[in-house]
């Protein structure tokens, strides 16, 4: 189990810096917003929390299809399925490895990018906290989507399509946790629900994803 996670992290690092890439993508997406909507800092500050959350979510999305696809293609998944590991554990390990290589760096970097969008000062802490609480849910939900689409040749887009709707609650409560603070309101409900969603996905998703994998392998 630990071996699996070790290998996944190793592979992510070998193929040209797993950590760096999703970060760079995040940076660029955030940078694109002023190019698209214009440079006025009032507007940017207004939309900053939402944009940071959407950017983090999209960066997460982009690396999802690699969670199982490569293992499927080179036969590792078949072999893992016959190995003495519960498939649920494999799924959970994959999700954790994904979070470590994408969610975690995004969380750490988000406050810095908030800077570029003139995020009001009160927002920094909560951007960090809300992403720390919310990105694990993104990784777990994404793992589920990856498990469902693993057999498909051009599954990338379909995967996004399946996963994005699942991300909506996380996005709403995540962004609210920040905007409310910026607007001087209390964000405790939003944040509590966000954390609850994360815990809920940890408990539920490994079983659903393992089930989907079993269907796809045979």
């Amino acid at each position: 189990m630990i071996a699996l996670m070790k290998r996944d992290l190793q592979l992510a690092l070998r193929s040209g810096g797993g950590f760096g890439l999703s970060l760079a993508f995040f940076l660029i997406v955030v940078m694109f917003v002023p190019f698209g909507v214009g440079p006025e800092s009032a507007v940017l500050a207004r939309i900053a929390p939402g944009i940071l959350w959407i950017g983090a979510l999209l960066s997460c999305l982009l690396s999802l299809d690699r969670i199982f696809q490569l293992d499927y293609e080179d036969g590792s998944l078949d072999l893992l399925a016959t190995a003495p590991l519960p498939l649920e554990g494999i799924v959970a390990m994959k999700a954790v490895a994904h979070w470590l290589t994408t969610g975690l760096p995004l969380t750490v970097a988000a406050p810095v990018l908030g800077f570029l969008l003139n995020l009001p000062v009160e927002g920094y802490l909560w951007v960090f906290l809300s992403l720390a609480a919310g990105t694990p849910a993104l990784s777990f939900l994404g793992t589920f989507g990856a498990a469902i689409t693993v057999g498909l040749k051009r599954g990338g887009l379909l995967l996004s399509l399946l996963v994005l709707p699942l991300y909506i609650p996380t996005l709403i409560f995540g962004a609210q946790s920040v905007t409310r603070v910026v607007e001087g309101q209390s964000n405790s409900t939003a944040f509590a629900i966000l954390a609850a969603i994360s815990l809920f996905t940890f408990a539920l998703i490994p079983f659903a994803a393992a089930r989907a994998l079993r269907v796809n392998i045979r």
């Binding site: 193929s15 040209g16 810096g17 760096g20 890439l21 760079a24 940076l27 660029i28 940078m31 002023p34 190019f35 214009g38 440079p39 800092s41 940017l44 800077f115 570029l116 003139n118």
Partner: protein
């Protein structure tokens, strides 16, 4: 003896053996003089106070950041046309220096921006262009890191560098079209009467020269170590083949 002789890695290494002490000494001298003069022996600006002294870091690093990319463009072309390994490795060696200079320019600029414009960051075209340059550097470095075979990596990064240059150039104009900014225009041009006051001008020029030598020293060193690395990997590969 033609200049292309030094495209042989071994000769290049020998050449740098003799060059490096001189460039190192020059760097220490010029940077030392320029920065010490700039920081401690110039008056405070009447408008900007002592923050003006950031100029001695900001301007040289900003100039280098751009020009290092140009150097990479040239060496990339040399590699594509004449396939001289040192040329490709020099481009590879320069990129991390370029990205560091870009970051220094961004950071010193941001620190300077606070007192000057009241904000650390604004989407001013000049600053934005630097952000874009930073991203181009990142892509270039990531591509080098991602490809296993060194010649393939050299080819692909060179192609990327050329196409990238065209679009980096376009982006610069795009950004100027998109937003009129705060940043000041060129103030170093020699023919213009209104360049920065002489008290700043001379130490600034000295520290720019120091930075350039610093860059040359670093590139030579890093290219050398890239050559060493290539040789080691080639030897190991030969070993394994038996």
């Amino acid at each position: 003896m033609s200049i292309w002789e030094f495209a042989n890695p071994r000769r290049f290494v020998h050449l740098t053996d003799t060059l490096l002490p001189w460039t190192t000494a020059g760097t220490v001298l010029l940077m030392g003089v320029g920065l010490v003069w700039g920081f401690f022996f110039t008056p405070d600006d009447y408008a900007q106070g002592s923050t003006v002294k950031i100029i001695f870091l900001h301007v040289p690093s900003a100039m280098l950041a751009i020009n290092i990319w140009f150097m990479m463009l040239v060496t990339s072309l040399v590699w594509l046309v004449r396939r001289h390994h040192v040329s490709a490795l020099a481009a590879k060696a320069a990129a991390p220096i370029g990205v560091t200079m870009t970051l220094i320019a961004l950071f010193t600029g941001a620190i300077w921006g606070e007192p000057m414009w009241g904000t650390y960051w604004a989407w001013d075209p000049r600053l934005t262009s630097f952000m874009i340059l930073f991203v181009f550097y990142l892509g270039y470095i990531a591509l080098w890191a991602a490809i296993e075979d060194p010649d393939t990596a050299a080819d692909l990064t060179s192609i990327l560098c050329i196409v990238g240059s065209v679009f980096a150039f376009l982006s610069r104009y795009a950004v100027m079209f998109w937003n009129q900014g705060l940043h000041q225009g060129a103030s170093l041009s020699l023919d213009k009467a209104d360049h920065v006051a002489n008290v700043f001008y001379i130490p600034l020029v000295i520290s720019i020269a120091g930075f350039i030598l610093f860059f040359i020293t670093l590139v030579l060193l890093r290219t050398r170590s890239e050559i060493h690395a290539r040789r080691i990997s080639a030897l190991l590969a030969r070993e394994r083949q038996g």
